[in-house]
């Protein structure tokens, strides 16, 4: 009991007269503890970032397109995302002239996650020496769904009556032309990404790498 009353007296004294030396030490200790706590929180938050393994998984992929006939599309996986390889027919290429005025960003000036490689033409969004082959990442710039191919022209559900062929995103109804350019007034704000790629031969392409190096 006597011990307790001693403490009370000490408490009263502190209330009246602050020991500035000890108070300074207390503040410094709290500040140090706070810094250590913040640093630890920083480490905890950082663990959420992509791991080195996830970063390393983005290596380029090679695709053999020797069996791809005009009008046919194949899907490759690069960095976990679907990459479309579409060999367009002359009619498909002609449809790009029709959609030129109907797409929101015909020259792909506003990129989604990567700019259109400078060796790609603005309208076909493909390399000059293989204009018919479209390489695009099949991830909608709206909320990341993968649009489905709607190559048959003409009226059909969820599509306008003057449809000339392209892609339709099932999630929120964005439509893209056969160069992966988004039509006006759609939820998706940007065109589909075209990754860096190059032809190793006429039938073999590599995605995620071009003459300048890896993406």
């Amino acid at each position: 009991m006597s011990n307790r009353s001693d403490k009370n007296q000490v408490g009263q004294q502190v209330g009246q007269q602050v020991d500035s030396g000890r108070r300074g030490l207390l503040v410094a200790t709290c500040a140090m503890g706070g810094v250590a706590g913040l640093a630890t929180t920083g480490a905890f938050v950082s663990t959420f970032q992509p791991s080195d393994r996830a970063k390393a998984a983005g290596a380029p992929v090679e695709v053999d397109i020797s069996t791809l006939t005009p009008g046919q599309m194949t899907v490759a996986e690069w960095r976990g995302k679907p990459v479309w390889i579409l060999k367009r027919t002359p009619e498909m290429m002609a449809s790009l002239n029709v959609t030129q005025g109907e797409v929101a960003d015909p020259d792909s000036l506003k990129p989604y996650t990567m700019p259109l490689p400078d060796y790609c033409e603005k309208q076909s969004r493909s390399r000059k020496d293989h204009k018919d082959v479209l390489i695009a990442i099949g991830i909608c710039s709206h909320l990341g769904c993968s649009p489905s191919s709607k190559f048959t022209p003409g009226p059909q559900p969820s599509l306008p009556d003057n449809w000339v062929g392209g892609f339709l995103c099932p999630c929120h109804g964005s439509t893209f032309d056969l160069s992966g350019r988004v039509f006006k007034n759609k939820p998706a704000p940007e065109n589909l990404d075209v990754p860096r790629f190059m032809f190793l031969s006429d039938t073999k392409i590599v995605i995620g790498e071009d003459e300048k190096g890896q993406a």
Binding site: V75, R79, G80, S146, S158, C171
Partner: protein, 469 residues
């Protein structure tokens, strides 16, 4: 104070002695009496007052079945889908546990929505129950997080693409968005890293917070006392013992009452588990019986039904609709200036925020996608403001003008329509309807300070309306 232990007679039953020993060291009897045993609840509770204890019951079901599921489930992108099928086909009674858990999730939301509807009808969030409401609101947020994180775990097509869409919502935030969604996923696409962290959130992080919030919700409720269908304070009329005249101790009265409710619930719950565990694709979506495929989005993706009202608001926000929102905000700021008693500073702050939003919604500033996310978030967060938005002089709908009931019903219908449209594929007509319902949804809350105070209110009784049976 020195430690004093109550002395019981030497021939007292062993159980009494044991309890006395505990009570001297831990307030067990006191806790029981404060929280339930001697907690006086209004005697005029009706049907709507069953959902609190039912929610508690479903929480227990979810925890118990969840613990068992974790014993067999593998949080690994390569193994997760197969491990769920293993639970369904090979673990003895595993299918029952899993269906209890998946049906329990939907049941939880049905119960919580009805529980919130009750609060809306009888003004249960009004002073002094603001914190009860806020804790409850936080529980609702936790439940949404639980449902979202848990839905990725079966690693089906809907799990995968649902998570992809929701995580990408954060990508719409200006400047930090893309990095933020990368940080949430832990990879450039929804992947094994995402599955593992969602598993951790689902089984430990959120449940811990949830349990703390449930305790806070109940402690706050038992501190201020329950509201009732008449919306009057039973503590205003006390008997000689200091207990509310219109109150009855929860035990045994509401214990037996709630046990009856649990029985009825279990009949319905079992019927779903045994006869319609997928509930026509609403409780378990058909596309989720396909393993996740990062290269192919299912043709029709929709969130599970309990998210769809809010999801519809997200989808309704197109660039054309933003003009309506801008006009609405301008009109609202004008209304606040002309028809409210707020201080000049508050009015100026509201006007400044309104102006910023209107500028932000200009076509060249921030895209509609971002505002969709903002309205989506606002449609949930606005619920937290109810205690301060409702300015009705009486709490219960029973004593409010009859047209207030109409307003409440219109709101409920708009909410249900939004929910229905959220599971439907997008179409121009549905989009227009969901935009109308979005306006109704927000108008209900934002105009509440005015409409809730208008009309002729009926006299509120001193004592609760109660017919003994």
């Amino acid at each position: 104070m020195a430690f004093v232990e109550k002395k019981l007679p030497a021939d007292a039953p062993a159980i009494d002695k044991a309890l006395n020993w505990i009570d001297s060291r831990f307030p067990l009897t006191k806790l029981w009496n404060d929280q339930w045993g001697q907690y006086y609840a209004p005697k005029n509770f009706n049907f709507w007052y069953i959902f609190g204890s039912l929610a508690m019951f479903v929480l227990v079901i979810q925890i118990v079945t969840g613990i068992i599921l974790v014993m067999h489930y593998k949080p690994d992108a390569a193994l997760a889908f197969a491990s769920v099928e293993y639970i369904m086909r090979e673990v003895p009674w595993g299918w029952l546990v899993r269906y209890m858990h998946s049906t329990g999730a939907s049941a939880f939301f049905i119960i919580v929505y009805l529980h919130m509807a009750r609060a809306l009808m009888y003004g249960s969030y009004r002073k002094p129950r603001e914190l009860v409401w806020l804790f409850g609101f936080a529980i609702f947020l936790c439940l949404m997080a639980e449902a979202f994180f848990g839905y990725l775990l079966p690693w089906g097509q809907m799990s995968y693409w649902g998570a992809q869409v929701i995580v990408n919502l954060f990508g719409a935030i200006p400047f930090i968005g893309p990095d933020l969604s990368l940080w949430i996923r832990g990879d450039y696409v929804v992947s094994d890293a995402t599955l593992n962290r969602f598993f951790s959130f689902h089984v430990i992080a959120i449940p811990l917070v949830l349990l703390g919030l449930v305790a806070a919700h109940l402690i706050a409720l038992h501190e201020v006392g329950s509201n009732n269908p008449d919306g009057i304070e039973i503590k205003d009329t006390l008997d000689a013992d200091g207990h509310p005249v219109d109150g009855i101790p929860s035990n045994p009265y509401y214990t037996s009452h709630d046990l009856f409710g649990v029985t009825v619930f279990l009949v319905l719950f079992s019927a779903v588990i045994f006869f319609a565990p997928e509930m026509g694709g609403y409780f378990l979506e058909y596309n989720n019986f396909l393993p996740a495929d990062s290269l192919k989005t299912p043709l029709h993706i929709a969130p599970t039904w309990y998210f769809t009202p809010f999801y519809s608001i997200l989808r309704a926000t197109t660039s054309d609709f933003l003009y309506v929102v801008q006009a609405g905000i301008a009109a609202y700021v004008a209304l606040v200036y002309l028809k409210s008693n707020l201080s000049a500073i508050t009015k100026a702050a509201i006007a400044a925020v309104g102006l910023l939003i209107i500028i932000g919604m200009m076509p060249a500033v921030l895209e509609a996608k971002f505002w969709g996310v903002v309205l989506f978030g606002a449609s949930v967060m606005i619920l937290a403001g109810l205690p301060w938005l409702d300015c009705s002089p009486v709490k219960s709908i029973r004593y409010r003008p009859d047209w207030h009931k109409t307003v409440l019903i219109v709101f409920a219908i708009a909410f249900v329509i939004l929910g229905y449209l959220g599971v439907q594929p997008p179409s121009p007509v549905f989009n227009a309807v969901s935009q109308v319902c979005t306006v109704l949804y927000f108008a209900f809350f934002l105009l509440m300070p005015w409409w809730s105070a208008k009309g002729t209110f009926k006299p509120v009784p001193q004592r609760v309306t109660f017919k003994p049976h």
